[in-house]
Symmetry: D3
Subunit: 120 residues, 6 copies
């Protein structure tokens, strides 16, 4: 399913390009928020791996596919297995209800793309 | 702050009483959902401790104090430290924004009550 | 559980008093919205009874106890039975997830109060 | 507007394919949730037709186009007329506000597709 | 980036076409809501320019790209500068959290399209 | 209505006390977020007065009474009149729907308390 891999790759490129444009706005508050956001997922009292799972579940119950895709990749890179990611998404579905299911479907597509890339 | 301990205790009693009344409704779908919900936080691909942190963050970004209180207690009982819980709530605040802050304040009150009870 | 009946009665009085104050603001847009909101639940292509169930489920998944209480009473008055109301709340819980459960507990309290008043 | 019919058909195929992949994950909790979700809309204290309208309104106020499309089709199949569906969507718009309007526009497209297919 | 301009133009055309279809439904409640919605942003105690910024921030924290695009254009037309719009979006991001960031990225695209059209 | 004034005063004291406890946690990410949040409402491309109205509307559509109370006071202190605040809340109600009405009722109570204190 090369098309899906491309779709994830398109998301990454678009995300990076738009984030650069946002930085170029030179709005101090926005810059600081982006920096704060990035630091949130570094090792702290909780390891980065757990925090990425938390970010994934928060994104899933708030139903944002872009955020889900970003955290799915970070979950994979920080060492979570596919089974652990699915188990986290199950928590999101139970807390957030059937309205989360379309985002579970989306997640499976992205997980497939990450598997094809060898990241998961 | 004994009053806060009482408040947490009141929440527990009311929660248990109302859950029993819900079971007494004898609605099969509701009963099954409650059972499913309970099983969600058992050890699986992810340990119960991690799942409770996921439930806490999902509850915080969806901004439900009752759900937060329940998961705070379960986080404590499943072995998370205060520092880990605070780190998880920080993720919730960054993902969910300043609108989560009143729930962070609420969480601190409940964390104090759990500390007084020796659960955290 | 007289206290609960009083609590529902307090809600009604406070709601009516505050709505009058809102009308007294004399903001044309707000007045028109309140009028529009009232008309929404009149018989139309769907009967009022069904629309009140729709309003109840919308209120439950959006997790607003005041709105739930209002529509629970309207559901009772427009002819829905307790069993039908519980079945509607089950739909809300499945769509909206476990985060809806505290509002299910709240609903049961209000349903009890409506039963004591002979409205349900 | 054949393209729209195709779009609805694409949604159905993709939904079915992804749901099968989700079942293939063999996660017991997810499987049970999907089963529970399916049973929620069967005849009970309320008839399936009413429950599908409840599912539609819940989906609309929570603003999920995939969920809206699914329930629109189920509403049509369980016997609701276009006028009744529009009346239900009006309740959703009033409860959920103007933020629901883009989903009303989306619904109209899907309703047209269902009409072309003879389902509505 | 002509493609983006086209995309904004496509959104406008589709929005107008679908709104006409909604009016053609001849549902009195829906018609009145659309009229009420339109009047909300006229000069009142607050000038239209401020109200459009309010509509933009409300749309951003509720995370609706179509609503964001509409209000971005209205903000530009009612006299807000790009810097003011960015400052408003920053408020939305801080209140609503990192989950708003994908909508900030979307907003930047639309702002670029409005600049190319000479509207901003 | 002295009791309401006391209620607003209670909110302020509790908010300040809990915020101090949050600072005492010494979590760098949380501290930075609080600082960032505070700076968001300072004069920038938009004046503080407008930003507070934006914060109020964001809080109202996200339905957080504590956030509404905080921004209502800041709106009053930064120079908005009661009429302007009501006009902003009307935008919130139209965007967010009837589910916002209970928070409009709450806002009226707080506005009364601010009037009694001479802040509005």
């Amino acid at each position: 399913m090369a098309s899906k891999t491309n779709s994830l790759e398109d998301f990454r490129k678009n995300r990076e390009m738009m984030n650069e444009k946002i930085m170029d706005l030179n709005h101090l508050g926005i810059k600081r928020f982006f920096n704060l956001d990035h630091n949130t997922y570094q090792d702290g009292a909780l390891p980065a791996q757990t925090k990425e799972l938390l970010g994934l579940v928060a994104s899933a119950v708030l139903r944002c596919n872009d955020c889900i895709d970003y955290h799915l990749e970070q979950c994979a890179k920080s060492g979570s297995t596919k089974e652990e990611i699915i188990d986290a998404l199950n928590v999101a579905m139970v807390v957030g209800g059937s309205i989360v299911i379309p985002h579970l479907r989306h997640s499976i597509s992205t997980i497939e793309a990450l598997e094809e890339e060898g990241l998961l």
